[in-house]
C-alpha cells in the first residue's frame, strides 16, 4: 500500500508538470494581456508605455522563457505577485481558501447526507410515486443553472421575505465578534450552499439509486434474506456496504469539482473566495494568480483521486494495491 501511494505521488508530479504547461500556454495565448486590459480606453497611453509596462510585468518575454521563469520560481515555492492585487499569489490563496473551503465542504457534506438516504429510498421503492418524485426533484436540480436558481433564491428569501442576507460574507455594519460573527457567516452561507446542494445533489443521488438497484438484485442480498436477516439490516448492512464501493470513488472525485464550481456561485453572491477572484483574474489576464489557482485545483484533483483510490481499497476487500 505505501509503495503504491509513493508511486502514485511520483506519477502526480509528472501530471502536474503537464498541467502547468497547458495552463501557461492557454493563459498566455488568450487575446488581450493584462497590460492591454488595464490601459484599454486610456488615450494617454502610448505604445512605448505599454511596452515598458509589459517589461515590468514580465509579459515581454516569449512563452517558453516566461514559462521556464515561472516554473523555476514555482519549484522554489514562489508563485509570483498577482498583477491585480500586487501581493504574493500564495498569500492570496491562503487568505481566501477558508471561505471557498467552508462553502465547498459544507455543500459536500449536505449533498452526501441527502443523496445517500434518498437514493436508497428511491431504489427500495423503484417505480413508486416516491421514487418518481425523488428522481424528478433530482433531475430538476441538475437541470437548473446555478445563476438562475441563485437569482430566484435571492428574490424570494433576501428581497421578498427578507429573512436572509442578499450577498457577501458578513454583515459589515453590525461588526459582530465571536459566536455572533460565526452565526452571521452561517446566515450568509445558507443561500450559496443551497444553490450548491440543489444543483449538485442530483448527480450523486441518481448514482446512489442506480447502484443500489443493482446491488438489491444481487444474489448475496437474496442470500442475506434467506438467512433470516431482517430487511433493515439487509439494506443497511449487506446492500449498503456494497453500494458504498462506487460512491466512495465518486465522492473523492467530487472535491475538485466543488472548488471549481464555486467560481460562478461565489461571483453571484459576492463572496470573496478563490473562485470569485479567479473570474476577475481571467477577465484581466492576471497570469500569476490564474496559474496559482489552477495548480491548486490540479493538486486537489490529484489528492481527490488518490484518496478515492485508497478508500476504494478500504471498502472493497477484493481491491489490493501492490
Amino acid at each position: 500500500m505505501r509503495q503504491y501511494i509513493v508511486r502514485r505521488l511520483f506519477i502526480s508530479i509528472i501530471v502536474l508538470f503537464g498541467v502547468s504547461v497547458m495552463l501557461y500556454l492557454l493563459g498566455r495565448l488568450t487575446p488581450g494581456d493584462y497590460v492591454t486590459s488595464i490601459t484599454a480606453g486610456n488615450p494617454n497611453i502610448t505604445v512605448e508605455m505599454q511596452e515598458r509596462m509589459r517589461e515590468v510585468y514580465g509579459l515581454d518575454k516569449g512563452i517558453v522563457e516566461g514559462y521556464l521563469n515561472w516554473l523555476w520560481d514555482a519549484l522554489r515555492g514562489d508563485f509570483g505577485l498577482s498583477f491585480l492585487y500586487q501581493k504574493p499569489v500564495t498569500e492570496i490563496i491562503m487568505r481566501y481558501v477558508p471561505i471557498t473551503f467552508t462553502l465547498a465542504f459544507s455543500a459536500m457534506v449536505f449533498e452526501i447526507l441527502l443523496a445517500i438516504p434518498f437514493g436508497i429510498i428511491a431504489a427500495r421503492k423503484q417505480y413508486s410515486r416516491t421514487d418518481y418524485f425523488i428522481v424528478a426533484v433530482a433531475l430538476v436540480g441538475i437541470s437548473l443553472p446555478s445563476f438562475f436558481f441563485a437569482a430566484i433564491l435571492k428574490r424570494i428569501f433576501a428581497i421578498g421575505l427578507g429573512v436572509l442576507p442578499l450577498s457577501g460574507m458578513v454583515n459589515a455594519r453590525a461588526g459582530y465578534t465571536g459566536w455572533a460573527r460565526i452565526a452571521d457567516i452561517g446566515k450568509h452561507l445558507v443561500l450559496p450552499v443551497t444553490v450548491f446542494v440543489v444543483t449538485g445533489v442530483g448527480g450523486l443521488l441518481r448514482y446512489v439509486r442506480t447502484n443500489m438497484l443493482e446491488v438489491l438484485n444481487a444474489d448475496y442480498v437474496r442470500t442475506a434474506r434467506a438467512k433470516g436477516v431482517p430487511e433493515y439490516k439487509v439494506i443497511g448492512k449487506h446492500a449498503f456496504r456494497n453500494t458504498l464501493i462506487p460512491i466512495v470513488t465518486m465522492v473523492g472525485n467530487m472535491i475538485p469539482g466543488l472548488f471549481s464550481g464555486a467560481v460562478i456561485t461565489e461571483g453571484i453572491f459576492s463572496l470573496e473566495g478563490l473562485g470569485n477572484i479567479a473570474i476577475k483574474a481571467v477577465q484581466s489576464g492576471d497570469i500569476p494568480y490564474l496559474m496559482g489557482f489552477n495548480m491548486f485545483i490540479a493538486v486537489l484533483t490529484i489528492i481527490g483521486t488518490l484518496i478515492s483510490d485508497i478508500l476504494y481499497a478500504v471498502v472493497d476487500p477484493r481491491v489490493r494495491y501492490s
Partner: protein, 355 residues
C-alpha cells in the same frame, strides 16, 4: 395479523411441507406469467424430494415461494396453501400467509436454502466467518461471540473444509467455486434446519466437485436428519439423491412418484423424453435425443395440455381441457390422457411426427 390467520393443520403430520395447489404469478407489463400454477406435493420428514424440469418450468419459483423470497411486487403467491409443520413451536403454519416477521425466524433457521451460483451468493465485502456467524447469531441471540466462532469453524469442518480457521477469516473472492459452495452449505446448515432447499447446488461446479458436494449433502442429511428439496435439471443427480421425484413442466406437475416409479416406469411423454435425452455411459449414439419444440409462452398458455405440441404420442382428446393428475398407483401420479381410465385405443393417433 392474528395468529389464526396463518396457523393451520397438516394433512399428514409426518410431512414437513405440504404444497397445496400453489399458484405463484408474476404480474408483468406484458401480462400475467403463471410461473407456478396449481402445484401440490408433500415433502415427508427426513426424505429427499427431487424437483426436475427444464429451465423456466417453475421449479425455482416453487422453492422461492416456500422461502417467501419472490421478487416483489411483481412476483406474488396468488393462491393455494404452503403448509409447514413447525415442530419447534408444535404447530403448522401457512407460509403463503405468514407475516414476514415470523418468516424471518423460519428462514435460515428452520428452512435453509442453498443457491445455484456459489460465485455470487456470498457477500464480497464480508469475511466467510462473519457471514456464517451472522446466521447463527440471528437465530440464537443468547450465544456468546466466542461460541459463535467455535460453532462456525465446526460447520466449516463439517462440510469438509480443511484449514477451517484460516478460511474463517478469508473473503469469498479468495476461495474457489467448490469451496464457496461448501461455505454456502455450511451457512445453510449452521442452525440445524428441518428442511434444506438446494436449488441446483451443483450446476455451476465442475463434475468432480459436483460429486463431492452431492456426497456431502447426502451424508449431512443423515447426520442432522433433515429433509431436502433438491431442485435440478440433472436427472443423474436426482437418481442418486432423491426418494421422491416431482416432474414439472410449464408451471405444473406432469408426473410425480417415488424415484423408482419415475426412473423405471416413467409414464408422461415429457418424463420419457427427459430420460431419453440423458447421456448414458458405454452407449454409442449418433446424436443425443432432444425433445422437439419449445416450452409454450408462459403469458399465453394454451387451454389444452401444455406439452401437446411437442408430444409424439398425442391423441385427439389432448386438444381438450388440461388433463388432471391421475393416480396410477398409491405413489405414482401422472397428468396425461394416455393413462386415463377410458380405453385409449378408440382414439385416433394424430401425433407421432415431429411438429
Amino acid at each position: 395479523m392474528p395468529e389464526s390467520d396463518y396457523v393451520t393443520s397438516m394433512k399428514n403430520p409426518s410431512n414437513i411441507i405440504e404444497f397445496d395447489n400453489l399458484q405463484t404469478y408474476f404480474y408483468t407489463d406484458a401480462g400475467t406469467v403463471k410461473a407456478v400454477d396449481g402445484v401440490s406435493f408433500d415433502i415427508p420428514m427426513g426424505k429427499t424430494i427431487g424437483v426436475v424440469g427444464e429451465s423456466g418450468c417453475g421449479k425455482s419459483v416453487t422453492s422461492l415461494s416456500l422461502m417467501r423470497l419472490l421478487q416483489g411486487p411483481q412476483g406474488q403467491i396468488a393462491g393455494g396453501q404452503l403448509r409447514y409443520n413447525q415442530i419447534s413451536r408444535k404447530r403448522a403454519v401457512d407460509i403463503a400467509k405468514i407475516p414476514i416477521k415470523e418468516m424471518q425466524k423460519i428462514r435460515g433457521n428452520e428452512i435453509a436454502m442453498i443457491f445455484q451460483e456459489p460465485m455470487t451468493t456470498l457477500n464480497p465485502v464480508f469475511t466467510i466467518g462473519s457471514q456464517i456467524d451472522e446466521c447463527i447469531l440471528m437465530h440464537n441471540p443468547k450465544i456468546s461471540r466466542k461460541e459463535v466462532k467455535v460453532h462456525s469453524v465446526e460447520m466449516l469442518k463439517l462440510v469438509g473444509i480443511a484449514r477451517a480457521e484460516g478460511i474463517y477469516d478469508s473473503y469469498p473472492h479468495e476461495l474457489s467455486g467448490g469451496m464457496r459452495q461448501r461455505v454456502v452449505i455450511a451457512m445453510a446448515l449452521s442452525c440445524n434446519p428441518q428442511l434444506i432447499i438446494a436449488d441446483e447446488p451443483t450446476t455451476a461446479l465442475d463434475v468432480t466437485i459436483q460429486a463431492q458436494i452431492l456426497d456431502l449433502l447426502r451424508g449431512l442429511k443423515d447426520k442432522i436428519n433433515a429433509s431436502i428439496m433438491l431442485i435440478t435439471h440433472d436427472l443423474g443427480v436426482v437418481a442418486e439423491m432423491a426418494d421422491y421425484v416431482v416432474v414439472m413442466y410449464a408451471g405444473r406437475i406432469v408426473e410425480q412418484g417415488t424415484a423408482d416409479d419415475i426412473f423405471n416406469k416413467p409414464m408422461h411423454p415429457y418424463t420419457i423424453g427427459l430420460m431419453k435425452s440423458k447421456p448414458v455411459l458405454n452407449e454409442q449414439v449418433e446424436r443425443l435425443y432432444s425433445i422437439p419444440g419449445n416450452v409454450p409462452n408462459p403469458i399465453n398458455l394454451p387451454p389444452h395440455c401444455y406439452f401437446k405440441n411437442r408430444c409424439e404420442k398425442c391423441v385427439e382428446i389432448c386438444s381438450g381441457v388440461y388433463p388432471e393428475l391421475i393416480q396410477v398407483t398409491s405413489t405414482h401420479k401422472v397428468s396425461c390422457y394416455l393413462h386415463a381410465k377410458p380405453d385409449m385405443s378408440k382414439y385416433r393417433v394424430i401425433g407421432g411426427k415431429r411438429l
